[in-house]
Chain length 353, copies 2
């Protein structure tokens, strides 16, 4: 029996993944040079499909790194001279902040209570000398989201600061208005339903200019090298070409299906999941506006291991709580790759046990 | 018609690649958590198979990064405080040195003439304060190799310095004696015949201890994090699990075949290639000891584009010279993935045209 992974990443693979992989084998994608016309076509195709899917304007470049974790590092290296400001609603936002400290930067940090977001986000006063505002649009550890409209409000209040947002476990769901977001990034092993090994970094000219102003911004995958190579749809060094190819194909499938429909399905399923309140399970995030649509966290008297024993006969797997919440919470991914039957079975099992 | 890629990486995929990929799809490898027992089994299997294949002793850990390019960066960050010393026989050795400079280190650099190696490598006097000796065992841009016995001699002369070697485009061919090599690293898209997206970093305790002594060695993929996670066959962040799985399978296939046989085949084929001397083609590297077995460079009055037009009817592709040698040299990979018929056809075509 095949397993359906409701884990929050690595996660369930997109239903068309295997078919695209077969084509990739057939077309010998793994052998082609990253300095060839064929590679540039693949990059261009993936770039175009992501632009359509996520409404990414020409003002932003789409770059490929190895993971979102690497992008945290590159983001700080390339755009922060002295200080970054962090809105932290969980372990991954905290790690992003730790990276900035580790790179010798000062940080200003706003931390929400576990399971809470930042109500009235514009009421937080960001230091004058903070250059980059780091937000986690979807925090995988706590299932807390920041509404895209709050990102707009933040940027409107601080137009002279760079604003970046981590959409690792929500992209392509959130409707980000890139007029107000200088950079966003994600990994493909979450809602895109691909194997891990590729990070996508969306950046505008303001980030690239900041990097140029700072001068030497590290040595590998600097924005200067990226920008230069991106002009001809290439990468600074040999990338995960197979991952880029597959991402383009999945983005195309999502465009064919229509993101509108995918979003609606995700919202309906999220509503169903958030309605689950039993003696065993209750949604962690109470504030509706702060509730992630793509990664849903439950307080649970049963840990993920016990749940997965119950779910095993149905071939379903959920994720444990993150870090210290490992045994008292579970996390359920609501990614587009999940098929209806498995979703219905999961809801039934969660409600009845 | 399928193409046979004699390019130096990305390169021809290993004949069993497609079969292993099918199994990976079947086993849903792309979905499993990097904190699961299944992942740890995969890591352990790949670790064991690489140890057998490349005779890697227990003194060395086997770590996974995104590429050898990333490992250049991490190697310098983690093991050099003030100065590194570089033996440069081509563009990639030079880039490794540039990375060290870019990270603010002093460098001592020995550069050979294009197409030449370092005869009497122990006669070079390395600065007392150089902490790390960086060598390129196989230089992909020039087809120059350093003999494994020269690495031993270097380490014997400088036992208190760390010695690392870039085996990106030769592993698993060279018989490295890890008693004398503190670190070696490679990418999988070369002689292992896999798609790009995974780098393998072999390091001993001396490197890890140096990193600990230095303290803060960057923020992502530091040796401290690696060493801690490696204890339980895990990685600091989500890795390219699919790549690790496939590498283990290919290493196992190579072990089944016997590296002895693979080496012999590569040596015989290299001898055949180096015998090609026509009005159009002559091997670049004259000194037999400096001749790479896995990546062979020819001076050519015809550029790679013209060669590939000639080779197209046979479904064969060779690589251009690197950088400024693009139009006057070609590079031919002699990797284990290449099948006999294609090899014979290539030799015939190169000799006759």
């Amino acid at each position: 029996m095949k397993t359906t992974y409701f884990t929050v990443g690595p996660a369930q693979l997109y239903p068309t993944y295997a078919e695209h992989m077969m084509h990739a084998i057939d077309e010998q994608i793994g052998s082609i040079s990253h300095r060839s016309a064929k590679f540039r076509e693949i990059y261009k195709h993936t770039d175009q499909q992501l632009r359509i899917l996520m409404n990414i304007p020409e003002t932003h470049a789409i770059l490929f790194a190895s993971s979102a974790t690497e992008i945290w590092e590159r983001m700080i290296q390339n755009t922060v001279q002295h200080k970054s400001c962090h809105f932290v609603s969980g372990a991954f936002g905290k790690k992003f902040c730790d990276f900035s400290n580790g790179l010798g930067k000062q940080t200003q940090i706003f931390t929400s209570k576990h399971g809470e977001g930042f109500e009235g986000i514009t009421h937080y006063t960001i230091d004058d000398d903070a250059e980059l505002i780091c937000t986690t649009q979807n925090e995988t550890s706590s299932g807390v989201q920041i509404l895209p409209s709050d990102l707009i409000a933040l940027k409107k209040k601080y137009p002279n600061k760079l604003l970046c947002t981590d959409i690792v476990s929500s992209a392509p769901y959130p409707n980000i208005d890139f007029t107000y977001v200088d950079s966003a990034f994600f990994s493909v092993q979450k809602a895109f339903g691909l194997p891990a090994g590729l990070g996508v970094w969306i950046v505008n000219e303001a980030c690239i200019n900041k990097s140029a102003m700072l001068g030497q911004c590290g040595v590998h995958n600097t924005l200067e090298q990226y920008a230069k190579n991106y002009e001809s749809f290439e990468t600074p060094s040999t990338p995960n070409t197979l991952g880029i190819y597959l991402l383009g194909k999945i983005a195309e499938d999502m465009n064919d299906h229509g993101l509108k429909h995918i979003r609606l399905m995700m919202e309906q399923r999220a509503a169903t999941l958030y309605q689950i309140t039993t003696q065993v399970l209750q949604p962690l995030v109470v504030d509706h506006a702060a509730r992630s649509v793509s990664t849903i966290v439950f307080n649970s008297t049963r840990n993920a291991k016990e749940w997965n024993n119950i779910l095993a006969p149905y071939g379903l797997v959920v994720a444990s709580g993150y870090g210290k919440y490992k045994d008292e919470q579970i996390r359920v991914a609501n990614f587009p790759a999940i098929e209806e039957l498995a979703f219905t079975q999961l809801v039934k099992a969660l409600e009845q046990h």
